[in-house]
Structures are given as structure tokens and as C-alpha cells.
Symmetry: C2
Subunit: 449 residues, 2 copies
């Protein structure tokens, strides 16, 4: 059944106080669907339904609820209930939750947390946003090198329910230095008497707590990992990152790139939940910056005002030249920005990119100019001179646009600016100015007034 | 060590015929790194190094090689060697490889394949591109409902080496109907005498062979899956999809969206490996279409030619108005396209989107116009009338641009067109025309000639 239909049913049942139906349906549905339904109910009904969940399921559903509804819950329920709920969460979900709660709620929850855990929580809350530390969890299986496979399996069996994953286990020494990894697959297949040190893979792919999460996700993609250890400066294991969180990182990073490329300050809030004021704020900076830059393009026209007054027909082709130049440049910058994000293009490829964009732009520019010349002369019956001026400008503009579009993201990367900024809006503004200068220059060569 | 340094070392060793060093280094490196190095060597050296790999590692490295180098290998090595190599591949890697090989190579390989497998391969090769069937594999663990946990674990232990994943097992009946799933975690924790049917989760999240791979990846994200069963019309299990392939799908779908949004026909080939002609082809269609559309914008200017001739100063503000309108519209379409791709926005949200864009555009439009008016009057010392005309146009354009930008992707989605097409290039062209009409209309109201 469609989830929207389900929401309707839930609303109806809750109104009729048919709690049995709600309870039954929630036990039948996957926790993610239950969370989605609760996210869409009003806070009061949502909490009503949430309280009907069995204790062990509640924490899981809670970890999938939206920030908005969780903040609402934390304001509606008693301190004790909130505390016991938070206790049942996986450690990384707990951190996520505390990060978005108002300071007084966090303080309340931490007050009665044992000293050792409180210290750990504070440590995790302090990892920089977008760092490996900020997405890791501590619920992993650690093994000792001198265990046998049989001992390891017993240990896993005993601790599994509290672990986020048991499929990759981490071998550490007394000081928690990371020695190796061993997969549950290897453990299951191996002879029970084999020692872990003989079975483990010593060549571990690990990250440091302060590594960027984008780097983390690129390693997951490259090495097809299900989880990855995070170590501190002394190579001591402090946590692991699991693939489900990496999937979220991957989407968030893609969203960030796409927003930057659209000339918007990136945000992780969803479209629907953002207020118009936040939205306006995220968009204004670039619009203003680009508006002011575009006035320089206007200056070029002003400079050629007399010329234009005598040849006002030239004005009619300005939009087409500007748009085509902008589009041609954006195509190139889009390709290069994406190539850089995927690691297919490196900064050392700069000459290769310029050479390629040049060749592409010659092919594209000539094709467009040819088509345009024919159209102007045959269909629009514009004079040959003007058709020639416009078409020549088109070729030059497309070539310049594509080289600039290919080059700027690479230059940005070299000076450690996010290449995504060098996308459509900025390229368009730059190329517009260039197109107009070329246009008036070529026109001046061919047309004497 | 950096992978580029490694490549240099490999080249040197191969030239010096120091095969021992190559062999030793390859056994130390992760297979993905070995593949990356081989991808960057010339085909002859690459094959030389490849042949130094142990037989069991060779297939794994092979599955990570680029298409280019694999085609080169298949032309350089003997039929027998190629065949034995292909035999060692996981089934989905085999299909991937056959898909990109020239027909004669495929024929050669299939000739000596046993009838049953050949039929299976042909079936897989026929699944539509971008379908669930095209990314699934057949190397999964299937269990019977009446097995005990102990029997299941023995079965898994015995078959594990040939399976892509053993962490989720699929329970089927005699006719291969999918009855449930059970995770290795549950098996390891459970009492050995428990029967699988009592342990398995009957509420299975599965897809059909012809479902879109984008839908598949959205399910993985939502339900935090590691693998997912694929069934035919009769609910018979035909394969599974694993998360490593889904990560690739996710990136490919994001790339596709980004390319569409940049006005490029999407391609899965990397920037570096595309020829300038392919690139030009992928870009020409949109450039031509948009160039022709932009001529309509030119027509608007032509229509107001006389007016413009008398008030040529108006021309100087055209680029700024066009650019700002285009940027404002692209921002909105970018946000809505991404929201739709992530499932945060549904088509039924259309009124909500329009209302939100209207509010945002009023805030943004007024801020920009205010700033612009001040700048024109105070800094540029333009007459109040013209400053007013330009600023008013700015407000109206921004409002229209944002509503059109927010609306078009939703309309596209409703009529089952990819919303990503309604991005920057198209929006810019549409908004440009609108901006000019508004500009001349408002100018006509305020300025009498």
C-alpha cells in the first residue's frame, strides 16, 4: 500500500482511538516506513503512535525520525522517558540526536549519564562537522590476536546484539592499537582452531578521526567496503564507520555539489522544511555577487553605445550570443567539476582538459556557426555582413567559453576552492562579458560607420 | 605511497625485468590499487604485470580493470587464457565484461560455455540497461525453510567461497519462490536447533528484474540494506543486488542528473576516455536547441528596435537583467530537481513549492532591486526614472523566474520527463525572454518617446 494511504489510515485510527490497529500495523511494517508515517503526522498523534511501539522497536524507529518531530517529542515527554529512550539508541544515533537538540535538553540528558560515557559523548560531539569522527560509531566487534576462531565466534555470538555490524571484526592489542581486520565470512569458513593473527588481514584501510568524510566515502567506493576503522594519531582504534552512513554522506556531498553548481549556499535541510527566509538567505549572496558582476557586462554595452545606436540590429543577437556562450561554458565546467568530484580528472590533467575542450569547441563552434549563418541568410534574410559577424562571434565565443569552463574548476581545485563554485552561474557571467567584447570588436572590423 | 609514484616504479621494474619486485608489490597492495596501476600502464606492460598475478587474484583484479585495458587484453591473449579468466569471474562481473566486448569475442567465449550457463548469460545480457536485472548477480546463498540453523551454517561454510555475499541469505521453496530472508548475524546468534522458517523475516523487500535501478538504490538507502533479492513475475528468486554495485549506481545516477542539468546528453564514459567527437555530439543537441530558442529572445529586442534606438541606454541593463533572472530561476530549479531526485519533494507538493518560491522570490527580488536602485542612483548617477524601470523589472523578473524555475521540474515529473532537463540552460533561455518583455513593457509605461 502507498505510504500516503497508510498515513491517512493512521490518522483515522488514532482519532477513533483504535490503538490495536495502529499497534498491529506498526509491527507489520519495516521501522523505516513506521518512521516515515510518524514524520508526517502532527506531533501529538505522532507521539501517541510512538508510545504504542514495543520498547525494543522504539529506539530503532526513533533513529529514523526527522529532526523536527524529534525536537517536538523531546519537548512533550518527561525527562525520564527521554533519557531511557536515548539510552537505547546506537551510539552514533545518540550523537546525531544530541547534536540537534537544544542545549538545555542535552544538559538534562548528560546530567545522569555515567562519567565515562559522558566524556566519550563530549569527545564525539566535538569532532568537526564533515569529519570521519562525526559519522563513526563505537559499537564494533574487537578481537584479540591470540584468540582462536572458535573463541572469536563465541565472543561475537555473545556481543552481536549490541553491535552495529559484526561482518567485519577488528583485531587490537592491549593498548587498542589496530593490528588487522577479519571478516565474519573468513571466520565462518576457517578451521575453528586457527588463530586470529594467522587469519587476519594486516593491510587495513583506515582513516583518522579528522579526515574528511568525502575522502571516507571515496575509499568505500574504491575498495567495496562494508565498514571502515577510524584510528587516532597513535593508530589506536576509536570507532568504525558503516556503509549505511556512507550512503547518506555520498548523497549529502552530491547535494552540496549540485547546490553549489546552482549558485546556492549548500544546506542539508530538505526543501520542504526550510523557511522562506533561510532559503532567501542561501540564495541572496550569489545573486547579488553575480548581479554586480553582470553590471560590468553592461558597461561594455555602454562603451559601444554610439556604435549600437547606429546599428541597433546588432542588439537583437546579444541574447543568443550570451546564452549560447554561457551554455557552452557551463557544459564544460559541469563535466570537469563532476570529473574532479569522482576522481576521474586530477589537477595534473590540466593541459589534457584544455586540449580536449579546444578540440570539442572547434567542432561545436563551427557546427553552430554554420547552422546559424544559414538560418540568418536564408530564413531571416539578414545581410551577409551581419550574419558573418554574428557567426564568427559565435565560433570565438564558444571556443573561449569552453576553455574557460574547463579551466576554472581546475584552477579552483589547485588553490583549494571547491570547483563546484565554477559552475553555470559564474561561468555565464564571465563568458557574457567576453562574448560582448568579441562581438563589438568583430563588428567594428566588418562594419564601418 | 602515492599511486602515481607506484606506477613509475612498476614501469621501471618491468623495463628492468625485475618481475620479482612487481610480484611482491602486487601481493602487498589491495586488488583495487593493483588494477588502478595496471589501468595506467600501456597495454603490453599491463598484460605483463597481470600475468604475474596468482590465478586466484587475477580474476579479482580483472574485474576492477577499465574497459579500455580489458578490450586490449582480450585482443592480445589466446582464446584459452581468456576463457579460463572469464570462468573465474563472479557472475555479475562476467556479464559486465561480456557486455562491453566486441561481438566476436563474446561469441568465442560463449561457444564452449555449457548450454545451461550460456542460456543464463544470454538472459542476463538481455535485461534492459538501467534495470535491476542488469546489475544483479546469481552468487547468493539460498536456504530451505525446513533446515535447522546448524544445517544452514554448514551449508554456508561449504558454499561461501563462491558467493558474493553470505551476510544475507535467502529462503526459497522447491520452485524457487522467495519465502524470506535471514541474516548471518541472526544465524550466528540463534540456537543451532532453531528452524530457518521460525527465524527468517517473511517481510522481504524485493524488486522485479525490470524495475529501474534508481528505484533499487532508493530502497537500499531507505532500508539500510546490504543486499536485495530480485524476483521474476511469479516471485521466483532470480538474483540479488549487492551494495557495492548500488554505490556505483548511485554515483552514476547523480552524474547523469548533473550532466542533464548542465545541458549535456548523459554518458557513463569518463571525461578522460571520451573522444572529442563523442563529446561534441553529446553537447551539440542542447546547444543547437537552445541557440534556436534564444533567437526568439532576439525577436523581442527586434520588436522594440525603434524604442531601443531612442533609449539606447536601456540596452546596457539587458545583460544584468537576463543574468540575474537566469540565475534566480536556476537556483529554484536546482533545488526542486534535487528534492525530487531525493524523494523529498513529491509532485503533489506543487502548490507548496510555488507558494514557497513566491515568498522567497519576493524577499530576494526586493533586496536585489533595492540594492540595485541605490547603486544606480548614487554610484552610477543614472536618472531616477531609468533606475526605477530597471529595479522594477528586476523584482518582476526574479519572481517570475523563481516560480517558473520551481514549477517546470515538477511539471516535467508529472508528464514523466526527467526533471533534470528543466535546469539552468533551459530555464535561462525561458527567463531571458520573459525578462525582456517585462523590461520593455515597464519601460514603455514610464518613458514616453
Amino acid at each position: 500500500m502507498h505510504i500516503e494511504k497508510m498515513e491517512e489510515l493512521f490518522r483515522q485510527w488514532l482519532q477513533e482511538k483504535n490503538f490495536l490497529a495502529v499497534k498491529k500495523e506498526m509491527s507489520r511494517l519495516p521501522v523505516q516506513d513506521v518512521a516515515e508515517i510518524l514524520n508526517h503526522l502532527d506531533a501529538k498523534n505522532s507521539l501517541l503512535a510512538f508510545r504504542l511501539l514495543p520498547k525494543d522497536g522504539a529506539a530503532e524507529v526513533f533513529s529514523y525520525l526527522s529532526d523536527k518531530i524529534r525536537v517536538a517529542f523531546s519537548q512533550m515527554i518527561e525527562e525520564d522517558e527521554l533519557k531511557s529512550l536515548v539510552e537505547d539508541l546506537f551510539f552514533d544515533d545518540k550523537i546525531d540526536f544530541l547534536e540537534e537538540m537544544p542545549a538545555n535538553v542535552v544538559k538534562k540528558i548528560l546530567q545522569t549519564t555515567p562519567e565515562s560515557e559522558r566524556r566519550l559523548i563530549n569527545q564525539f560531539l566535538n569532532y568537526p562537522e564533515d569529519s570521519a569522527g562525526s559519522i563513526m560509531t563505537i559499537e564494533f566487534v574487537d578481537l584479540k590476536a591470540d584468540m582462536t576462531v572458535a573463541q572469536a565466534l563465541t565472543h561475537i555470538r555473545y556481543t552481536a546484539p549490541k553491535k552495529e555490524t559484526i561482518y567485519t571484526c577488528y583485531v587490537i592489542d592491549q593498548e587498542r592499537h589496530l593490528l588487522g581486520v577479519v571478516s565474519l565470512k573468513d571466520l565462518v569458513v576457517a578451521d575453528p582452531d586457527t588463530r586470529i593473527e594467522d587469519l587476519m588481514d594486516k593491510q587495513v584501510i583506515a582513516v583518522k578521526t579528522h579526515d574528511d568524510r568525502e575522502f571516507v566515502s571515496s575509499l568505500f567506493k574504491k575498495y567495496d567496503l562494508l565498514s571502515m576503522p577510524v584510528v587516532d594519531q597513535e593508530n589506536r582504534l576509536v570507532g568504525i564507520i558503516t556503509i549505511d552512513d556512507v550512503m547518506d554522506v555520498l548523497e549529502a556531498e552530491n547535494t552540496e555539489d549540485i547546490q553549489r553548481m546552482g549558485g546556492i549556499s549548500p544546506t542539508e535541510e530538505s526543501y520542504i522544511s526550510q523557511s522562506p527566509f533561510t532559503m532567501a538567505k542561501n540564495r541572496l549572496f550569489w545573486l547579488m555577487a553575480l548581479m554586480i558582476s553582470a553590471t560590468f557586462t553592461g558597461r561594455i554595452i555602454q562603451k559601444f553605445e554610439d556604435f549600437l545606436q547606429n546599428m541597433v540590429i546588432l542588439a537583437a543577437f546579444i541574447p543568443m550570443l550570451m546564452d549560447t556562450g554561457g551554455n557552452a561554458g557551463s557544459q564544460s565546467s559541469t563535466m570537469v567539476i563532476r570529473g574532479l568530484a569522482l576522481g576521474e580528472i586530477k589537477t595534473r590533467d590540466v593541459f589534457r582538459v584544455v586540449a580536449k575542450e579546444f578540440m570539442v569547441s572547434v567542432i561545436v563552434g563551427l557546427s553552430l556557426a554554420g547552422l546559424n549563418f544559414l538560418r540568418l541568410v536564408v530564413i531571416e534574410q539578414v545581410s551577409t555582413t551581419i550574419s558573418l559577424v554574428v557567426s564568427l562571434t559565435l565560433v570565438v565565443t564558444v571556443i573561449m567559453a569552453k576553455i574557460v569552463g574547463g579551466l576554472l574548476p581546475l584552477l579552483a581545485k589547485m588553490v583549494k576552492i571547491d570547483p563546484a563554485i565554477m559552475a553555470s552561474p559564474l561561468i555565464t557571467t564571465i563568458v557574457d562579458a567576453m562574448a560582448l567584447v568579441v562581438y563589438f570588436y568583430i563588428a567594428g572590423l566588418f562594419i564601418k560607420i
